[in-house]
């Protein structure tokens, strides 16, 4: 998967995030703009664009964007 594209999608979909400010190492939970709505947006986006389902428990265990990316990659194999 295209990591750059994934990060761009997050930046576009979450209110208030400056484009280009996120990296795979970003701890997304620590972002001021990340709230429960952002969680829902992420679940929907990953479902629609990557056809991968993330459970609530899995999402809670992720810290960095890389954790999400690796999870999607592992499900796609």
């Amino acid at each position: 998967m295209d990591v750059h594209e994934f990060i761009e999608k997050i930046e576009t979909n979450i209110d208030g995030i400056t484009p280009g400010s996120l990296t795979p190492e970003t701890v997304f939970r620590d972002l001021e703009q990340w709230d429960s709505l952002a969680d829902l947006m992420l679940l929907a986006m990953v479902d629609s664009d990557y056809d991968v389902a993330i459970s609530g428990a899995e999402l809670r265990s992720f810290n960095t964007l890389n954790d999400i990316i690796n999870f999607i990659i592992s499900k796609k194999q």
């Binding site: 429960s36 629609s48 389902a53 459970s55």
Partner: protein, 350 residues
């Protein structure tokens, strides 16, 4: 479970909401105006209707039913079945349906059932009524569905408080020349994701279960309040709703293009919009009508019809209608039917 039930029709639908309005912007003082506006933009709910303590679901349904009887000019004595679908019943016992039989002056030869479902409940109500009519048990069944969910929600549970509103409804299913086709599914494995854990026999009511404490995300509630794991419910909707609808379309041999209305449970704007995109159907076929009333649980589809029926009728959308609802249980279901001859009323207030 999939089935087609014959010789049935929906003759009328009426939804009732409490007069008392709550503007969610008032929560700005507490949670910050920007935050509240952001949530409103996502959920699509800016106001809700709140039933005061002395108004139960049965009262809203009774008002909807008497309004519907008057509108379609039918005597209560001609109703021989009543189904009440709700999580907010009048008493632990007896069933609310039998209490309503008396209050609505329905005859004593009437069969009365309560069915305990929430957001998916309209499909269950129509299914039970259609079974009673198509089997020949009943001539005409009154389906009362609704909830006063605000009575189950702790005022400090921000997540639920900003989407759930109160509402009731009445629908008449009777003998006719139509068919209803259903696809209904259950998964009790997800029961814990949407639950009021205490107050029944498993965890009886006690001082402890009535005491609210702070929980995840800063929300407060007791074990006798409603709990919803938003992420799990979102996942459930994404996973189950589109296949449920697609399977029903296959079952009745309808193409998506033929369907005029996909009437989805009005959970929140985010979910309904997302499902509309995932189903790949145009927006005008999937109404979102919850801005001023919120998610009214099982009443949300009848209330959406009440808000939208004029446009839907003008655009001839009712001949092939597919309604789909999903929620507590977990449970989800869809029905394909013709609503073009159905009398739908504007919402009534109590």
């Amino acid at each position: 479970m999939k089935v087609t039930l014959k010789d049935v029709k929906v003759s009328g639908v009426c939804a009732a909401i409490p007069k008392q309005e709550f503007d969610l912007l008032q929560l700005g003082e507490r949670y910050g105006e920007l935050e509240v506006k952001k949530i409103i933009a996502s959920t699509g709910v800016s106001k809700i209707r709140v039933a005061p303590e002395n108004i139960c679901t049965s009262d809203l349904c009774e008002h909807a039913a008497t309004s519907l009887f008057a509108r379609i000019n039918i005597e209560p004595s001609l109703i021989d079945g009543i189904v009440f679908v709700s999580q907010t019943f009048d008493h632990i016992m007896p069933a609310t349906s039998v209490v309503l039989q008396h209050r609505l002056l329905l005859p004593k030869n009437c069969v009365a059932f309560d069915i305990r479902y929430g957001c998916s409940g309209y499909i269950y109500g129509l299914y039970q009524a259609a079974l009673l009519v198509s089997s020949g048990s009943c001539q005409r069944v009154l389906v009362c569905v609704g909830d006063v969910s605000t009575h189950l929600i702790h005022p400090d549970d921000r997540a639920l408080r900003m989407v759930m509103g109160d509402g009731g409804s009445a629908t008449i299913v009777e003998r006719g020349d139509g068919e209803f086709s259903f696809n209904i599914n259950s998964d009790g494995g997800g029961a814990r994701h949407l639950i009021v854990p205490a107050g029944g026999c498993r965890v009886p009511s006690s001082e402890t279960t009535r005491t609210a404490t702070e929980r995840e995300g800063g929300n407060s509630r007791s074990d006798e309040n409603m709990f919803m794991d938003g992420m799990e419910i979102m996942n459930f909707c994404l996973r189950e709703v589109p296949p449920c609808i697609n399977e029903l379309l296959d079952f009745v041999h309808w193409q998506k293009d033929d369907v005029g209305l996909f009437g989805l449970h009005q959970a929140n704007k985010f979910i309904v919009d997302y499902l509309q995109k995932k189903l790949k159907v145009p927006k005008e076929k999937v109404p979102v009508a919850l801005q001023l009333t919120g998610n009214t649980g099982p009443a949300s589809i009848p209330l959406m019809l009440a808000h939208e029926y004029k446009r839907l009728q003008e655009e001839n959308r009712f001949e092939k209608s597919l309604l789909c609802a999903y929620g507590v249980g977990l449970s989800w279901g869809a029905v394909a039917l013709n609503l073009s001859e159905t009398i739908i009323m504007d919402p009534v207030e109590l």
